[in-house]
């Protein structure tokens, strides 16, 4: 099954998203039926575009930091030096993933206060897990003959890591980053309950003023972003693993 959608659907969705973000009122007729008379159908308490950008920046920052830290940690525990930490780190990932994102966010507030900071920290911590887990899987399931050959040809540990292990684990690592980004995208909306500037503001404004149109537009923008990002990263993954189909066969 092809996991990335056909190009036409992708472009259509992207186009609709761009039009909506720059000229939201062009969608007013579609949203009007969702609200009572006189209530605004398009979010009017701020710029949707600015919120979207802020949302994306928050997610991007958290995911980028999580990627760097998670890969570094996974590399560390798969080297002989860090081998003692390997079993524990596996358990910690399992335990960590049982923590609900809302709880992580809520627990970050007492420590870091309200605003962007607890949201960023929660997204970062929660985003670490899938990337760490996948990098670990990638680095510990490398084809044995390939590793044997790399060592046998005189590559140093560092050369093997950079030239063989990480490139071979790349598709699995990317899958982890994709998972992490999509989770963060959705979790960031909850960040608005602790006063972070994200698209969650639109949804919460809708819930508070009983305005379904707000809820729907906030939700659909995040949904569209998630689909597009998921899609883009899947395509990238597919392209990379196509060159080495038989990597693990």
């Amino acid at each position: 099954m092809r996991r990335w959608l056909p190009l036409s659907f992708r472009l259509l969705l992207l186009g609709a998203l761009v039009v909506f973000l720059f000229w939201p009122y062009s969608f007013e007729p579609l949203l009007k039926p969702l609200v009572q008379q006189n209530a605004p159908a398009v979010y009017n308490q701020g710029s949707l575009l600015a919120l979207t950008v802020q949302h994306l920046v928050t997610v991007l920052a958290a995911t980028a930091a999580a990627t760097v830290v998670a890969i570094a940690l996974a590399v560390l525990v798969t080297r002989p030096f860090g081998a003692e930490f390997l079993p524990l780190s596996r358990s910690l990932v399992n335990i960590g993933q049982t923590f609900p994102p809302v709880a992580v966010l809520a627990l970050a507030v007492p420590v870091f206060g309200f605003g962007e900071k607890p949201t960023l920290i929660a997204l970062f911590l929660y985003g670490l897990l899938p990337i760490f887990e996948n990098t670990l899987t990638g680095l510990t399931n490398l084809p044995r003959p390939v590793m044997e050959a790399a060592r046998g040809m005189g590559m140093t540990g560092f050369q093997r890591l950079l030239r063989i292990e990480l490139p071979l684990a790349l598709p699995v690592i990317l899958a982890g980053i994709r998972l992490s980004a999509v989770i963060s995208l959705a979790t960031a909306t909850i960040g608005s309950t602790v006063a972070a500037k994200t698209l969650g503001e639109v949804i919460i404004a809708g819930l508070q003023s009983n305005n379904l149109a707000f809820v729907v537009q906030g939700g659909l923008i995040v949904g569209a972003l998630a689909v597009l990002i998921y899609d883009m990263l899947s395509a990238l993954e597919a392209r990379i693993s196509a060159t080495m189909q038989a990597a693990h066969g």
């Binding site: 084809p143 390939v146 044997e148 046998g152 040809m153 005189g154 590559m155 140093t156 050369q159 071979l168």
Partner: protein, 312 residues
């Protein structure tokens, strides 16, 4: 010359390689044969220090293999393994260029070497150079694996069951090709296998290992005529002995003066093949010619059978 002197290795108190001593002459092929768990692979891996020995010494051209760091040593020694271990994310050319790049060769020199090796292994550089390993057949992957091991022009090539994953027809061809290429490049090869047939096809000298010990190290002829232990005898196969002797000797050694009918055979044909030919064409003798086609004499079936007999 490779000198292995009193080398031992044990894991958890169990000796995997137990006090092995052997010398491999330059430009020859030594084959280490044994069952699985005999320690043959561990012995091989101690030469390029993928495994560090516990005691004894290993010298390459009189230089201890511990005199330089392991990874530098391994760049000077070719290494080919059963599952070829090609890097799936690199093209055939890039795979072959691995060690030259590690050694910092100039790009032009690397390109020339890659092309030369691809041609030597009968792979068209313009077609195969840019392919990825998953686009190759089993036999092609295996050849690329050996080509990669030879890329930095090592004096020594270590091979661990290099033909184990090939089907019988391709394997026989790969073995013949290896012999040809070895004569051309004059590389010293140490090859590990569990296949006695392969050992007899390739080896100048055969080492037989069992339970970590070197039971016998000698020429194929030695092993057949004077097996050191019952284990060696069983490994060679008592019923196979005459055929093994025929297989390792060529017609040239049995030529006598005289004439015979029918198409001639070249002098470098193995005696086993010649017997097969004579039996099948119902001839008691065949004419023998040199490689340039000039007549050398004849060989009789009776003489060949006499040569393949045990002590009287």
């Amino acid at each position: 010359m490779i000198e292995i002197d009193g080398v031992s290795k044990s894991y958890d108190g169990r000796a995997v390689v137990d006090n092995v001593t052997m010398v491999v002459q330059p430009r020859s092929i030594a084959v280490i044969v044994g069952t699985s768990g005999s320690g043959k692979t561990t012995l091989l891996r101690m030469i390029n220090r993928l495994v560090e020995r516990d005691s004894g010494s290993i010298r390459l051209d009189a230089e201890d293999n511990r005199s330089i760091p392991g990874y530098l040593l391994r760049r000077r020694i070719g290494y080919a393994i059963q599952e070829h271990g090609l890097f799936p994310h690199r093209t055939v050319s890039e795979n072959i260029a691995t060690v030259p790049r590690l050694l910092g060769w100039a790009p032009s020199r690397i390109n020339a070497k890659v092309r030369e090796l691809l041609v030597l292994f009968q792979l068209d550089p313009d077609i195969f150079g840019s392919r990825y390993p998953h686009e190759l057949s089993g036999g092609e992957k295996q050849r690329v694996g050996v080509a990669r091991a030879l890329a930095a022009e090592p004096n020594v090539l270590l091979m661990d069951e290099p033909f184990g994953a090939l089907d019988p027809v391709i394997r026989a061809k790969a073995q013949d090709d290896l012999r040809t290429i070895q004569r051309h490049l004059r590389t010293t090869i140490i090859l590990v296998t569990h296949d006695m047939e392969e050992a007899f096809r390739l080896a100048d000298k055969i080492a037989v290992m069992d339970a970590g010990r070197l039971l016998q190290y000698g020429t194929p002829d030695d092993l057949v005529r004077r097996p050191a232990t019952p284990f060696v005898e069983a490994l060679i196969g008592a019923r196979e002995r005459p055929f093994r002797l025929l297989a390792i000797n060529t017609l040239g050694e049995a030529v006598e003066v005289g004439e015979a009918d029918g198409p001639p055979l070249p002098a470098d044909t193995s005696q086993k093949d010649a017997v097969a030919e004579m039996v099948w064409s119902r001839r008691g003798a065949v004419p023998v010619v040199s490689s340039d086609g000039s007549p050398l004499g004849r060989v009789t079936l009776e003489a060949l059978l006499r040569r393949a007999g045990g002590p009287s």
